[in-house]
Amino acid sequence: MIRPATILAVLLAVSSVHAGPSRLVTAGSAVTEIAAALGLAPQIVAVDTSGREIEGMGDKPDVGYVRMLGAEGILAQKPDLVLVSGEAGPPPVLGQIKSAGVEVVVIPNGYSLDNIGDKIRAVAAATGRAGEGEKLVAQVEADVETLRAATADNTGERPGVVFLLARHGGNLMAAGSATAAHAMIEASGGRNICAGFTGYKPLSAEIFAAATPDFVIVSESVGGDDAQLLASVPGLGATPAGRALRVIRVDDAAFLGFGPRTPSAAAEVAAALRQP
């Protein structure tokens, strides 16, 4: 959720337009991705752990997990701007960085395709790249349009989908409602069969008692081939419905990040869901 206060904070920060940072630290994968897409890669001196997955960012110093940042570690990179997503924290750490005289801009999280443009504009304004920002916004909006067009002519029953996330030691978790994956399944023209619960829950046979999915969406980073994957899903692998399942692999950061690549990643999934 975006709180009015944070929007105000962003607008205030954004209003002080400047020439752009020369040393930039970013945290939050969408923020880093947008900054890189705006051509700021050379100025980025450090990113958070998730940011290092993004192309070209792999060799930047790692300031750690976005929710567990340390003020001194970031300040040691001598940034003139710290750009973070809404979940960055702990909150006092951002205050400490500001108290050392370094500007911190928080880009609010938004789990909707319509928010991506706002994020891009906020990053562009904070970094003095309004022109590049508008170009990127236009491109993203075009991708969203393409996706909408592709899913608009869907008639009849939408295909049932389950999104699986690999966590701790290969345990699979299913995405319920109030998750980025849920929003993306719906945006891609699917129907999340796990909408009955919120958040990520460990996968169990019960999940498939009420409804069977037609598709499984899973991260590219999950190992093994499709058959192995399905066999490891309790209550599904052995059934005829399970064998008829199709697996769609996605780039997590792109599909769930609500960044510039998200609309096109969703379009790819939408296309896969429409295959008979």
Binding site: G70, E72, P90, P91, P92, V93, S99, G199, Y200
Partner: protein
């Protein structure tokens, strides 16, 4: 002469306490000197002597980020260890942990509720520590309602009530963790790992007040805690007001652990092990064990936090991983060392 031997032993124990007290400033200074931002000896001297000839950013890093953090770690570690020493002495149980009286579980519940409703930023960020502290205190108040005067077996009942309370808090905690959104869940998880990264001067002052109050209460009962090692009944015969000592010791431990947990999340190991280190080094008298545990806990957490902010710099490491990694080997070494005391 054995007369001399007994005096030697207590003089040696007191000497070691002085040594520990002398180590603390050195550890604090070392921790303040090291960090992701390099500060050379010359700059360090200028910072400490108040010279203005240091870049503003370096001054801010040192005085507004690093030094409060070092002090916070020292106060949190000291508070946890002191509370542990008090609770272990009271329960006459070497495995007693301040967590046993339910404070940590209550505090965790308070914090998790804050995250669950997305309130962690309210009151300028102070709602979170307040909720944690209130949760810890509430748990202990419930526990103390099982403490009715002095009766034989009262302590055993308190321990059992603590176990039940912890389990209940754990299941409520589990419910909120299970129902939490993904975002809140991650915040809760990191809070329970513990961290000193949020240190600021006002928090340091608050913790200092709590540590002073807790030390004052426990130091007054040092002799009573010694007597309690003979059993509660025997202590009562010796003139110890057992019910009052029990109530005040638990209250002091609750204030110490509640405040520490409120600002740094749950940090294990120190409350359990630092008091044992103190006993292994100095024997069983609480007028030595209490201050020694405080000093050892403070140094342990300052060093663990130093590791947390430098080992993977610029990234932070969870401090809970390091308390055991640093304290564990030292503790094992103490256990193996031939000593004049048995645990």
């Amino acid at each position: 002469m054995n007369r001399a031997a007994a005096d030697d032993a207590s003089r040696r124990a007191r000497g070691r306490l002085v040594l520990l007290a002398a180590c603390l400033p050195l550890v604090l200074l070392a921790a303040a000197a090291l960090g992701a931002v390099t500060i050379g000896p010359a700059d360090l001297w200028k910072l400490l002597s108040g010279s203005a000839d240091v870049p503003a950013v370096v001054r801010a890093v040192f005085w507004e980020i690093r030094v409060p953090r070092v002090f916070l770690a020292a106060l949190v570690g000291g508070s946890l260890a002191l509370a542990g020493a008090g609770v272990q002495g009271l329960f006459r149980n070497p495995l007693a942990d301040p967590a046993l009286i339910g404070v940590s579980a209550g505090a965790a519940l308070g914090a998790v509720l804050c995250f669950f409703f997305g309130w962690e930023g309210l009151l300028g960020g102070w709602l979170l520590p307040l909720a944690a502290f209130a949760g810890g205190l509430l748990a202990v108040l419930i526990l103390m309602s099982f403490h009715s005067g002095f009766a034989a077996g009262g302590t055993a009942k308190l321990i059992l009530a603590g176990v039940a309370l912890n389990a209940m808090a754990g299941s409520v905690l589990g419910f909120f963790l299970f129902s939490a959104s993904d975002d809140a869940l991650r915040s809760m998880t990191f809070w329970t790992l513990g961290s000193c990264a949020s240190a600021q001067w006002p928090q340091v002052l608050v913790l200092l007040v709590f540590l002073a109050a807790g030390s004052f209460i426990l130091r007054r009962h040092a002799r009573a805690l010694d007597a309690l090692q003979l059993g509660e009944e025997q202590a009562a015969h010796l003139g110890v007001p057992v019910a009052r000592v029990r109530g005040e010791t638990i209250a002091a431990a609750a204030l110490l652990v509640g405040a520490a947990t409120a600002f740094a999340g749950t940090i294990g190991f120190i409350g359990l092990v630092a008091p044992h280190m103190a006993r292994l080094l100095l024997g069983g008298l609480h007028r030595l064990v209490l201050p020694a545990a405080l000093l050892l806990g403070a140094m342990l957490l300052v060093l663990a936090d130093l590791g947390a902010r430098t080992l993977t710099a610029p990234a932070e490491l969870a401090v809970g991983i390091l308390t055991a990694a640093i304290g564990g080997p030292f503790f094992l070494w103490l256990l193996r060392r031939p000593s004049s005391w048995s645990v």
